[in-house]
């Protein structure tokens, strides 16, 4: 979905909403994608669901010479269990992920998160991998994969590599994805028995990007708290999580809320300043912790 709050003062005000000219490649295999990326480098953009890229193209915030449409590559879609991992193809649409019983059972955090993404028509088109590649700091899925310690599979003509979610998100809209690489799939560790997941967010309107959101996953190995909408990428709240490590009680929740100031230093945006965001993050932390207690 659309991100660009046009905060940056532009030297021109063109007010355009027709995409600039570009060439179009309908890729039917990854090999074709790699060739095109190798040839055109940063002049090329990958078109997956397009729900963030196309608005940016229409506004001419991005003016690639070539659009490589990977939608026809069937190998990039699908959801399956592979041992201890749930594999989600990068091109799998949000609506398919949301409707998948496998995801509901094995990655309940993601299942809870999907309905918060935009609206039905957007979810029918937007893709799991596309959302991660876009790396919007207020988006739901980057926070989920970080909370779940998921592994992203990246491929290029140079070969394949696996990158942990922790290493993937680097800065504002910046990821470990090299210009010649494509995300092919995401492996999510299957939730063991007794896992408790809570996904909460506060958005001004249904489907808007969150002012603040929290993906919380409690597993035997520990509690993961990942906030989004509070920084230039999803932020893991280690101090707050540590405050709850010995078990969740009302006192520890208060301590964790206090500790959150060490984890987060949210920049303001159009909807709220940093102080408001920190406050709301504390509220969400309290609510998520109480829900985990009850779960």
């Amino acid at each position: 979905m659309l991100t660009p709050a046009r905060e940056t003062r532009r030297a021109r005000w063109e007010d355009v909403l027709k995409a600039p000219s570009f060439a179009y490649l309908r890729a039917s295999s990854l090999a074709q994608v790699f060739d095109a990326l190798a040839e055109h480098g940063e002049d090329a953009r990958i078109l997956a669901g397009g729900q963030s890229l196309v608005p940016a193209l229409n506004m001419r915030l991005s003016e690639p010479r070539l659009l490589i449409d990977i939608n026809p590559i069937a190998a990039l879609t699908g959801i399956e269990r592979r041992g201890g991992m749930l594999r989600i193809g990068a091109l799998t649409r949000h609506s398919e992920v949301g409707a998948s019983p496998l995801v509901a059972r094995l990655a309940p955090l993601i299942h809870q998160a999907i309905p918060h993404i935009a609206h039905p028509a957007i979810r029918n088109r937007g893709t799991f991998g596309g959302s991660l590649a876009q790396a919007d700091p207020a988006a739901e899925l980057p926070a989920c994969v970080l909370a779940l310690d998921a592994v992203l599979h990246l491929a290029s003509r140079r070969g394949e590599r696996a990158v942990s979610a922790r290493d993937f998100f680097r800065a504002l809209y910046e990821t470990a994805l090299a210009p010649d690489e494509v995300i092919t799939a995401i492996d999510v560790p299957v939730a063991p028995q007794g896992t408790r997941s809570v996904f909460v967010e506060l958005a001004r309107r249904r489907g808007d990007y969150a002012l603040v959101g929290l993906a919380a996953e409690a597993r035997e190995v520990g509690l993961r708290l990942v906030f989004f909408g509070v920084g230039n990428k999803p932020v893991e709240a280690g101090a707050a999580s540590a405050a709850l490590a010995a078990g969740i009680t009302a006192e520890r929740i208060a301590a964790a809320q206090a500790a959150l100031a060490r984890d987060l230093d949210p920049p303001g945006d159009l909807q709220a300043d940093g102080a408001t965001k920190l406050h709301l993050a504390r509220v969400l932390l309290g609510r998520a912790a109480r829900a985990l207690m009850a779960a």
Binding site: F22, A23, Y24, L57, L66, H119, A121, N124
Partner: protein, 162 residues
């Protein structure tokens, strides 16, 4: 790899073949090339929902797709859904409840609501509001739209109003 692309697709059941500029959006393609003006460009950045249509059976935003992507696809627009009679009851309910004023957003809302209807059952008013949360209407205040969708759901489920 070219700035113009040959596509063959089905639009409202009819086979269409065209050469399109790669940058032409689906909504512009339908309006400019095929004269299907019922799908409307309200914001061209994926927010207002006026260009909602069906692509291979699922609702999508036509301003966030390029026509070039649609080789082999099947598109259904408000014109097709009207002609097939699939949403005749929904349209009648909208008429009865005056769930439209200027009519600019209406096609998008009908196509979106039709997707909810296809799920079956009788959703709550809150669920209807939620499902239509991505379709902007400035005239009606939404209340009558929810009434009309709710009435159609009930009628299809064979239940009368409570």
């Amino acid at each position: 790899m070219s700035e113009s692309v040959d596509i063959r697709l089905t639009v409202n059941g009819q086979a269409v073949a065209r050469r399109v500029a790669a940058r032409q959006s689906l909504v512009d393609f339908l309006r400019e090339e095929l004269g299907l003006t019922g799908t409307r460009a309200g914001c061209e950045h994926g927010v207002c929902g006026a260009c909602t249509l069906r692509l291979d059976g699922a609702i999508v935003r036509a301003c966030l797709l390029f026509a070039a992507q649609l080789d082999g696809a099947s598109i259904e627009t408000i014109e097709g859904l009207s002609r097939s009679g699939e949403i005749a009851d929904l349209q009648a309910a909208f008429h009865q409840h005056n769930a439209l004023q200027c009519g600019f957003c209406t096609a998008g809302i009908l196509v979106a609501a039709a997707a909810l209807l296809r799920r079956g059952g009788v959703p709550s008013r809150a669920e209807i509001r939620d499902f239509l949360s991505g379709n902007y209407c400035r005239c009606t205040g939404y209340h009558a739209i929810i009434d009309a969708v709710e009435a159609t759901c009930r009628a299809r489920a064979g239940k009368s109003a409570p």
